[in-house]
Amino acid sequence: MDQQKAMLFGAAAAVRLLLFTAFPSLPQLLAGRVEVSTPVTSFKRLQEGVFLYTHNVSPYDGGVYHQAPLLLPLFSLLPNPASSPFATNLLFTAVDLLGASALMQIADSGQSVVTRLFKSSRKDLRWSSAAIAATFLFSPFTITTCIARSTSALTNLFILTAMAKASQGASFTFIFAMAMASYLAMHPILLFPPLVLLCYDARTIKSKTAPNPLAFTATHVLGFAAACGGLLGLSALLTGSWEFLAATYGVRLLLPDLTPNVGLWWYFFTEMFDSFREFFLGVFWLHVASYMPGLTIRLRTQPLFVATTLTGIFAVFTPYPSAADASLYLSLVPLFRHLFPLMRYTFLASATILYASFLGPAFYYLWIYAGSGNANFFYAITLVWSLGLSIVVGDSLYAALRDELDVERPELRGKEVKRI
């Protein structure tokens, strides 16, 4: 097992380092692609921020850098990626490997099939943790994100770690990882409620007695708030002012940068009447947030599935999504191998995603470089991409509910169901 894991990780690291060294211009190329690098995760913008930071200028001057301040000291310690990129490449490779390792921990915990309150009737149908890690490590989306050195790789790592620690019931590391993920990308804060439930369930299983739910929630919420407050305070200390809040979270909330990306927001807001812009920003954000309470209540028994579905929703409905968000969701889906037989549109979903992945760059080229297309070409492709991901989200949700029904009424297993 360990040998298998070592081989897998070695192979994944080798592929990444090989791509980095064999194609030295590839990171530059990918860092400029809108599908991978968004204004809030781009490595080029990070370099700009680091340059300003090391020259004692506020990194948020000039309005290019929109990422968390704590990334700056980390990247300013590394040698300049323009002249000696090896250290940076190694860091991003390590981030991927750590993420894969966290994913293996999630898989090993078995929370995806058997939770405290729910035991799937198909619990034996699952892939090994190594196989799941392999889908993450060798997913083209993950590799692209790694080569483009997008900082969403770090966000993904912290989300995976938070899930892993929650499924092990390790409160302290869970809270820290959750706080880091929220601090880096803001929207992962919505994962906190389902993951607290997951943590509670895991703790109950571990200690065989249920802790007081109120006390448990209160300590975790307070701990999470303290961790986030600490990170923000540290950032303020580091940059010397609170202006980073407007430059990072403000940008994510108010969408001033309408650079195209694979999401649905940019096109909509380029067309929006100015006087309704604020209203629809609110609507879009509430739309993202409104799924969390409903899903958490409905699927209270399967909090890990709720968290997974939410990452899928993030990959479609957040303002600056990229292939990295999709890679996170698509590598969490194999944890629920037991739902695959119940899914009805697997072919359609995979075909749509493949179609969008291949045609997206082509249409972007037609629009921006060749000039023979227009913005609608690329936007149509992002619609297809979002459709593909939404099909996976919806279909897996259906499958999870059907799976629940099978447990509730075993006599209905294998029968056709219909909504009334």
């Binding site: 006087s275 604020e278 609110g282 309470p293 209905l412 029968k415 056709e416 909504r419 009334i420």
Partner: protein, 566 residues
């Protein structure tokens, strides 16, 4: 809201088998197909909680957000007050001009003279808003007049701008008396009189008093006409006592006012030298401007400021679209027809930019014709310069006929006639009155006229803004507009008060600020964004996105309420 609904639901739950997603067809062997098995209490409550959670987001977050982001902010404007200003109900501008009288004789006599003169003046005056008041100057009586002229040439007026005119009575023995002399560069009118013409304290009228009154009346006649014209063109400000100016007078004033540029705090003057050949390629414009124009601009500086630039363009002939000049044997010169003058400016090729910077541009074109077509004059009157209304002036500078070749450098002396012409043109472009023959007096007149016109223009802008606000209830009114309106009103009030007190300098300054603020408020960009956005369009904005979202939310809520009620 969520807990209540949950509680209600749990109390009345186990009735309806009306589920969203479960249990479909039950085994046919046990029950008839039409009746699915009842839902568990558990799943019912779960569903109600889910629906409640979505509605909680909509109601607790969505509604306040909608309210806050789509509310049109309308700052309070004093609409009635603004309309009153525009209709001239608040401020009736009056122009009390103080005229100091310096009389070298005994106080009772002086008082008597002033009283009788004032009487005569009041009888002459047809325009009640503009009125001249004589006061006695506090200057030692026994002073040699000629000596004083030397010691302080400008007299009181330079120290005290509020005195419109200084009237100095000078006794003489020779010449016709009474006679008057208006100082060209001072606000002083000298009256020469014979000793016997001093009115006695008993008489009610005297030739001297009548003479002075008539003199003063004629000096301020044009100013009165200008102000009366200003007031009459602004409806509402018309005072009932005022007699309407005669039609010819109105036509003349209209001509003047169409010629003059609109008032601006800063004007940009451009002096351009155009030549169809390669000479002259230089001109001593800087020193010429310094000598001939700077004093004028300096004296004008309390009304407007000026920026100046100059340019030389070679091989820049006049517009080819007009008829070429013809040689006139009588004049021994090349002549241009008067009707062609309007097409003389070669707008296509001459780089005369319409406006540089903030203020309007006044263009002065100095054209040096080709040696072969020199001298170049205007056919009808043999003149060589003309004024383009609201644009600038043109002067054809014919090179001296003595030398065969056009000089390469135009010296300061050569430029002198041009500069004089340009000064004259500038004065009429700025709206200077034609009379009286004293520059400071004309400046003071212009100051009062400008103050009045700015006052009216700012007031009518306020009125327009008030009408706009009433007519378009859907436009937002930001706080900056309210602030500008308040400032405008405050400055208008101050300006009006200053006018009443005869402090015309202050009146102009306040009126100027008021005008700037009023324009700022009226042309606020963020107000007009939604002017063409009727309410029906909002349906098109909201429905495409919110409709599809609302349908499942509303339907599930209705279904749930129905099941609870049953």
């Amino acid at each position: 809201m969520a807990p209540t609904e949950g509680a209600n639901a749990s109390s009345t739950s186990n009735t309806t088998p009306n589920d969203l997603k479960s249990p479909g067809t039950p085994p046919a062997a046990e029950t008839p197909k039409t009746l699915p098995p009842p839902e568990t209490k558990e799943s019912l409550r779960l569903r109600q909680w889910v629906i409640a959670s979505f509605w909680a987001v909509v109601l607790c977050l969505g509604l306040p957000m909608w309210w806050k982001t789509t509310a049109i902010y309308r700052a309070d404007l004093p609409l009635q007050h603004m309309t009153d200003w525009a209709e001239g109900k608040i401020c009736k501008p009056v122009f009390p001009l103080r005229i100091a009288v310096e009389a070298p004789f005994q106080l009772p006599d002086a008082h008597n003279l002033i009283r009788t003169t004032q009487h005569a003046l009041d009888d002459l005056n047809e325009f009640s808003a503009h009125h001249l008041r004589l006061i006695l100057a506090d200057i030692p009586v026994a002073r040699n007049a000629s000596q004083q002229m030397v010691t302080d040439g400008m007299g009181i007026s330079s120290n005290d701008r509020d005195i419109a005119l200084l009237l100095r009575l000078i006794p003489v023995e020779t010449g016709t008396t009474p006679r008057s002399m208006l100082q060209t560069y001072a606000t002083r009118l000298d009256i020469y009189y014979a000793a016997h013409q001093i009115p006695s304290s008993s008489s009610t009228g005297s030739p001297l008093a009548t003479f002075i009154a008539e003199e003063l009346h004629s000096i301020f006649a044009e100013e009165q006409a200008l102000l009366a014209y200003q007031l009459s063109t602004n409806v509402g400000a018309l005072t009932p006592k005022m007699k309407a100016p005669s039609p010819e007078k109105v036509a003349e004033l209209e001509r003047q006012s169409t010629r003059a540029l609109k008032y601006a705090p800063t004007y940009h003057l451009t002096f351009s030298l155009f030549s169809p050949t390669s000479v002259p390629s230089a001109w001593e414009i800087e020193s010429a401007l310094q000598q001939y124009l700077a004093p004028l601009l300096e004296s004008f500086s309390f009304i407007s400021n000026f920026t100046v630039d100059t340019q030389v363009q070679l091989y820049a002939g006049f517009s080819p679209s007009i008829r070429q000049p013809e040689y006139d044997d009588n004049l021994k010169a090349w002549t241009l027809r008067r009707e062609d003058l309007s097409g003389f400016i070669n707008a296509a090729e001459w780089p005369l930019s319409p406006s540089i910077g903030v203020g309007p541009t006044v263009n002065f074109v100095l054209y040096v014709p080709d040696q072969l077509q020199s001298p170049l004059l205007i056919k009808e009157n043999g003149g060589n310069s003309w004024l383009v209304p609201q644009w600038g002036g043109v002067l054809i500078l014919n090179p001296p006929t003595s030398g065969k070749n056009t000089p390469t450098v135009l010296t300061k002396d050569a430029l002198a006639p041009a500069m004089h012409a340009f000064s004259d043109q500038l004065m009429s472009l700025l709206g200077f009155p034609q009379t009286p023959n004293s520059l400071p007096l004309r400046l003071a007149t212009l100051e009062r006229v400008r103050a009045a016109s700015l006052l009216f223009s700012a007031s009518s802008t306020l009125g327009a803004l008030a009408r706009l606000t009433k007519a378009l209830p859907s436009i937002p009114i930001p706080d900056t507009v309210a602030k500008s309106v308040d400032l405008t009103i405050a400055h208008l009030q101050q300006s009006c008060d200053s006018l009443r007190d005869g402090r015309f300098q202050g009146a102009l300054e306040h009126a100027r600020t008021a005008e700037v603020e009023a324009e700022k408020a009226f042309f606020e960009r963020s107000m007009v964004g939604q002017v063409y956005f009727p309410d029906e369009h909002k349906v098109a904005v909201y429905l495409p996105l919110l409709g599809p979202v609302a349908v499942p939310l509303v339907m599930s809520l209705l279904k749930e309420i129905k099941s609870v009620v049953r």
